[in-house]
Symmetry: C2
Subunit: 215 residues, 2 copies
DNA sequence: ACTTTCATTTGATCTACATCAAAGCGGCCA
DNA sequence: TGGCCGCTTTGATGTAGATCAAATGAAAGT
């Protein structure tokens, strides 16, 4: 019986998990891989509005219909709960709601940081911010400490970055080249980035000092 | 004793409620008036990241320091709770956490709608969207039904709108003039707007059909 | 090895919005 | 009643990033 309320689903890179407007009778959290939430206008303009990393949560108790497209950008495993039983569980066990509140507040903070980026940062600052955000996460997972160079993977295509940053893919490419030329980052292949100085990168990102992310 | 955990504070239009980085030992909700949350970069670029209307909530259980400037844009009354006792209350009464979760999820949806606006909409669409959002709220508070013209107040200066929309105040002014010229809206004074056709406005806003807001 | 395909880079040009600079236009106080 | 001050509008010009268009490169199949 338990299988009916909790189950796993796998997706390949590029697959759509759910389309905006589809019925959604589950909530889920990411186990491995990366997924994105995007909104699309009728004429095709797209904006990414969320980046889901392992442990992040999708879906909303008390909502029938998905408001965004959810897409796997890497191979992806999600852990799903049927919505009805999940809602019941939530009303019985208070600390689940509290934990979910914590996570949602974190997401809201991230969304607001993103609003500053979208509304006011230059293309160069946007790219630097994106790299910084990914680096920050990786660093906290990997070794800590020393100011040495940091190596990270960009799990997104240029197009996905463009959708994330509110730019075109050409501008993304040009700005990455510029940051490379200026020694802020260097690339091996298309996706592997090394950052000689995190401080320099954060400066380029325009975040006030550490942006409230570190520490 | 109760006065110590719950109290009211009033602010005049333009006053700052709290500065980013200040210690914040309370949470609060708006009783009357309008407040804004803004982020500022060192060089002065500003982006509004939240608009607080009556019943909206500010502050976060388990956070010491305000991450944004909070400003009263109209005369404002807030209902404040000292954080410690509020947190205890939350752990005792589960439905408070659940209600807060609901509200936070709504705010997150609004923030994501805003990300689409900031990243992908044109200046004209941004203005139309802002008017639509304010109109939508006022309409739901006032009479319902008929497709007749809608009258609303803009509770923001041109500069505040610019900070909200990621534009300059000059562009805001020009686009408002353009929408007026084209008969999408008309103004009496600087702040009073009448909307002959909500459908037309929503079209200009670029929201797909009703944007999922109505109904 | 050779083509196909798809992501990325780079170049040339165009344009929406920013920036710089003056006027209007009320409201408020003397 | 007049003048000052903050907001807003309008005008002239500049520019960051979009758009249009090739060229390059790297992985995948034959």
């Amino acid at each position: 019986m338990l299988e009916q309320i909790k189950y796993y689903r796998s997706f390949e890179a590029g697959q759509t998990v759910i389309w905006s407007g589809d019925r959604m009778d589950f909530v889920a959290s990411v186990v491995t891989g990366i997924a994105t939430l995007t909104q699309t206008m009728e004429d095709g303009r797209r904006q990414m509005v969320g980046l889901l990393l392992p442990s992040d949560f999708v879906g909303r108790p008390g909502r029938e219909v998905a408001p965004y497209d959810v897409t796997a950008t890497t191979d992806l495993v999600m852990c799903c709960f049927r919505k009805k039983p999940f809602e019941e569980m939530m009303s019985h066990t208070p600390h689940v709601a509290q934990r979910l509140l914590e996570m949602t507040l974190d997401e809201l903070d991230a969304a607001r940081e993103w609003m500053l980026l979208l509304g006011r940062k230059t293309a160069r600052e946007k790219i630097a911010s994106l790299v910084a955000i990914i680096a920050r996460r990786d660093v906290s997972l990997q070794q800590k400490g020393g100011k040495g160079p940091v190596v990270v993977d960009l799990p997104l295509t240029r197009e996905a970055m463009a959708d994330y940053l509110g730019l075109t893919l050409e501008t993304v490419s040009r700005q990455i080249s510029a940051l490379k030329r200026d020694g802020v980052i260097s690339l091996e292949g298309k996706r592997h980035v090394t950052i000689p100085s995190l401080d320099r990168l954060l400066e380029e990102a325009g975040d006030d000092s550490d942006g409230g992310f570190l520490g």
